[in-house]
Symmetry: C2
Subunit: 225 residues, 2 copies
DNA sequence: GAAGAAAAGTGCGTGCACGCAAGTTTGCGT
DNA sequence: ACGCAAACTTGCGTGCACGCACTTTTCTTC
């Protein structure tokens, strides 16, 4: 009942997905992303080109996925784990910071490659949006079943904040970098993430408080009046 | 100093952009979006196909843009106008609701068309992201120059909330519609928008309060300690 | 364990996005 | 007024995303 739908099917699927990721990253590092055609990736992974984009809907996705991995799921998991002890805001922030600082292991040079080419930067930033659904589930569970929409909105906001932090980190301010005045050049990613997420703390905490009151009112006693 | 960079140039640009929008919408309504090729739109607007996607990067964008118009800019403007009287959260929410309820005039049937075809629905929802930049500027101005990042994050969160509301409105819950249990089928768009934006109220108000304190501390008197 | 259903992989064709390198229009300086 | 520079447009070529129909593989059921 874990995650497998039928067993061998899912296994093979993940295998080819992983093969495509690996092949895409390897070829991109060898020749540079510009000189990698979809057919090459497919051939290197031993599948048809048509199969390739049954898995990825853009060439960049495959390369970026090799680095981002299953980060989204791990963020949600981390939130669920922390959920008992401290506040929702803190749990979410720390979970995200943890998962984004643990990026290093496999590909330092891969990250360099991604941050260099604009196309890859963009899809790397967009990949952050993938946390929304798992995170929404995690938050919803923590808030109880009261209003799942709040959880969705909060998760979406968190994802948006992460995107902003990544854009700043990569200097993709969309022409604003020279406009106003002094902007901190880069800063460390963890700091940027915390700074971007900080403004959402009131919303997260307020939602948690409302949820607690709502649950308490339901579970323990009817309202005073 | 208004918006024109050089005068005649910009004028012509907006003209062809508008021509493309109109042509795209008209053809889509006549034949259905499936039977409209990019070449047709370009021809109808009297420009080269290549020029067409100097303006729009996907066929759907042109059609959707004919309906969404310049909504983003108007939202930002509305926020700026309201900014004096009431709270930031209220100003933002009302500005958005206003602009999204004022959609009706030109194309009732166009909206029907958009909400029907999945591809158009998606780009319609994505179009909401365009409010982020103008809204960020508007919020930043209202918060004073303290930390423009907060403004960006808040604007991005608002955009995300709007997206969630639109997804719900269109029933694009990504397979979740049948999962949990009873979900409100549609509801009125204004209500959905307010509901989606409500969880962000604490964050908006907190940012405004912080900004006021910060500005007061700077403008009137040095801090007590 | 064999037949049938479901799902993943494949080949093909079509329309499209976009880089590049012209050609053409607009605006500005003198 | 004239010519130069920048902006916009255009044609062309290349890869690519994706729908569709079909084959192959895996799962289920009797």
């Amino acid at each position: 009942m874990t995650t497998r739908r039928t067993g061998l099917r899912e296994q093979k699927k993940q295998a080819t997905r992983e093969a495509l990721r690996a092949a895409a990253l390897r070829l991109a590092l060898e020749r540079g992303p510009e000189n990698v055609r979809v057919d090459d990736i497919a051939e290197a992974a031993g599948v048809s080109p048509r199969t390739y984009n049954n898995y990825f809907s853009s060439r960049e996705q495959a390369i970026v996925a090799a680095v981002t991995g299953e980060r989204e799921a791990r963020v949600a998991e981390a939130v669920a784990d922390r959920s008992a002890d401290d506040g929702l805001a803190e749990a979410v922030i720390e979970a995200i910071v943890d998962q984004y600082t643990a990026t290093g292991g496999p590909g330092r040079d891969a990250l360099l490659l991604i941050t260099t080419r604009p196309a890859l930067r963009d899809t790397f930033v967009d990949a952050a949006a993938a946390v929304e659904n798992p995170l929404a589930d995690a938050i919803a569970e923590r808030l109880g079943d009261t209003d799942p929409n709040t959880a969705r909105v909060l998760a979406a906001s968190v994802a948006a904040a992460v995107r902003v932090a990544l854009e700043q980190w990569l200097g993709t301010t969309t022409e604003a970098s020279t406009a106003g005045g002094l902007v901190v050049p880069s800063g460390s990613l963890p700091d940027l993430l915390r700074a971007a997420l900080a403004p959402l703390t009131p919303a997260l905490d307020a939602a948690e408080r409302r949820a607690r009151e709502g649950n308490a009112r339901i579970r323990t006693a009817p309202p005073g009046r």
